[in-house]
């Protein structure tokens, strides 16, 4: 089956390929003819996990399928040409997107790469010294700035969650140290270039001027920064909203739209349409208001589920109303919850009563009411159907009533069945519940206003 699919794909994608060849040897055909969606060279991406400085050399090596060491040697050699390699590296760093690889480089590779980088920088500096003093006075500060920039960029270039500024969410001391070091290098390098020669007096006043200018520029552009900050926040909020919208849309698509399609198909069967609509309504309600996956540990959720199942199986409408709730007690625990035996008995008896009403009452709507009180749990199943005379019950129905009754009484509860011919039937189930200490206190406290 999968072979046939692959062949079909080859034939449609590569109409020039010989179909016979494909039929005889599908696998070689695939590798011999490069698929359209896989280009000759992989996309140029910087290495993310496997980077030493910016992952540029590694990315180029992956892109051209050559040894990464040769690429690095190339950059080092280019760097000696008045720093051309360094400029090229920086530009590639800026304009190449980051990849998604995670594999870290091993120690020897790291050592060799750092060594090459140092050699490249040193060669660039020393060659410029050899050529002339003027060249050196430009290239050396430039190198210092480049190293500083690399240090800072590297910190902003990490994977994982970021703060608004683009730094890692939890910056370490090392991160701050690198950024500070980088900034110092950049400022020093630029200062040296600008001042051309180091004159201590001039340096001091110039630095002061630089600082004052920076502060002034910062103050003047405060509104701009604020606006930028707000725009960032707004954009983030919009993105979150959009994601939520998409989640809701996909949920509606999976549930409501499918059901609507089904309803259109079943339009001539009212019963089926009702069943589908009720089922969908329940599902949607659970999604909108529900407590998620705890369906089987809470009595009210379990009853809602049972009501839904009976609706689906018997094409009736069950209107469940629950007051209070009780959890299924932890395994072997004495706590507040209802023991597993009582819980199952209660659910089983309720289902039996609902099914009974659905089958025999002759009406299509059943009321289900459950209330959890401090000392007992009560469930009422009521229909307004034909009813019956309890004294002249047919044998099979008596059996069912007995099965409900026996189940509950075995767990210490009691069951009443009230029925009047023509008016309907109500099954009342009461199950005692262990009273814990603080519950008993509450009874004492709240008894006063009630009396």
């Amino acid at each position: 089956m999968s072979d046939i699919r692959i062949r079909a794909r080859i034939e449609t994608v590569q109409p020039l390929a010989d179909p016979n060849e494909a039929t005889n040897a599908p696998m070689p055909a695939v590798s011999a003819v490069p698929a359209v969606d896989e280009p000759l060279y992989p996309k140029l991406e910087r290495r993310a996990g496997g980077r030493i400085v910016g992952g540029v050399a590694g990315g180029i090596a992956d892109h051209l399928d050559v040894d990464v060491f040769k690429v690095r040697v190339g950059f080092a050699l280019l760097a000696s040409l008045a720093g051309a390699g360094i400029v090229a590296y920086g530009l590639l760093w800026i304009f190449t997107p980051q990849g998604t690889d995670t594999e870290r480089p091993d120690t020897s590779e790291r050592r060799r790469a750092i060594g090459l980088a140092v050699i490249g920088l040193a060669v660039a500096a020393s060659l410029s010294w050899l050529v002339s003093g003027t060249a050196a006075s430009v290239v050396t500060p430039f190198l210092v700035v480049a190293i500083g920039a690399a240090l800072v960029w590297r910190e902003f270039d990490v994977d994982g969650s970021r703060s608004v500024l683009g730094l890692p969410r939890r910056p370490t001391v090392l991160t701050w140290a690198r950024i500070l070091g980088g900034v110092t290098l950049i400022v020093t390098g630029l200062g040296v270039v600008v001042l051309a020669q180091i004159d201590l007096d001039a340096l001091r006043s110039s630095l002061l001027a630089v600082v004052v200018t920076l502060v002034g520029a910062g103050l003047l552009t405060v509104p701009l920064w604020l606006r930028l900050w707000r725009a960032l926040g707004e954009e983030r909020a919009a993105r979150i909203r959009n994601e939520e919208r998409e989640e809701i849309a996909s949920h509606l698509h999976d549930s409501v739209l499918q059901t609507l399609a089904l309803i259109q198909k079943q339009a001539d069967s009212p019963q089926e349409v009702t069943r589908l609509a009720r089922g969908q309504e329940r599902e949607l309600r659970r999604w909108l208001f529900g407590g998620g996956e705890t369906a089987h540990t809470s009595l009210s959720e379990a009853l809602q589920t049972i009501a839904g199942e009976v609706e689906d199986q018997h094409g009736v409408t069950v209107r469940p109303v629950t007051v209070g709730d009780v959890e299924l007690a932890a395994e072997g625990g004495e706590g507040k919850g209802l023991s597993r035996e009582c819980f199952t008995a209660l659910l089983g008896a309720t289902r039996e009563s609902l099914v009974n009403a659905a089958k025999h009452s002759g009406v299509s709507s059943i009321d289900l009411y459950a209330e959890t009180e401090r000392d007992q749990v009560s469930v009422f199943v009521r229909d307004r159907g034909v009813g019956f005379d309890p004294d002249t019950v047919p044998e099979d129905r008596q059996g069912l009533a007995k099965s409900i009754r026996a189940r509950i009484e075995r767990r210490g509860g009691r069951v009443e069945v009230r029925s009047t011919v023509g008016k309907g039937t109500e099954v009342r189930i009461h199950m005692p519940r262990p009273v814990s200490d603080d519950d008993a206190e509450d009874v004492a406290n709240e008894a006063e206003p009630m009396s």
């Binding site: 909108l288 208001f289 209107r319 109303v321 007051v323 209070g324 009411y369």
Partner: protein, 224 residues
Amino acid sequence: MTFTASPQTAPDKFRVFLVDDHAVFRAGVRAELGREVDMEVVGEAGGVAEAIAGINALRPQVVLLDVHMPDGGGVGVLHGIDSGPVCLALSVSDAAEDVIAVIRAGARGYVTKTISGAELADGVRRVAGGDAVFSPRLAGFVLDSFTGRSNAPEPPLDPELDSLTPRELEVLRLLARGYTYREIAEELVISVKTVETHASNVLRKTQQSNRNALTRWAHRRRID
């Protein structure tokens, strides 16, 4: 979506105003109530502002009010209209806080949209006559908020207003079990009139009580 005024209304008919943002649903209710001889839909609106203007202009007896609408919902309408018309909330919403919020804002009852036309007409007659209309679901919510315990400490409770009498609890339980007023009267061997009084008292307490479970819901709703 404009409200339509019909000036000549027979004096013995209940004048009903529909508020719901779904035109299809309004048309359905209009058709169903149209089958009842004593009902007349005098106007309808699809938004809160439109509804307030329409209700204050037409002065209907009963307003059928959707709980959920895009611009403020039933609570917004209840806060905006002049006193006079009584409101019956009509919704598919299952969330207790929404339902309790419209009741506390002044609605005289709450029924779900799956109700049959005849039952709806019955509810309209009942609220027009000054009674409360409790669907089993509303009865369940009210019971829950009067019997349940909240984590926050209760404010000093007024015993008259903040707790239900045993008889009121009994009536409320039967309502939650799906009993009609007449069936409750038979069950408790009291008159239908007494059942109606109990139900009205429960409604009044629901609207005025300071119990946490009730104020919390209304409060949360108002913040939205």
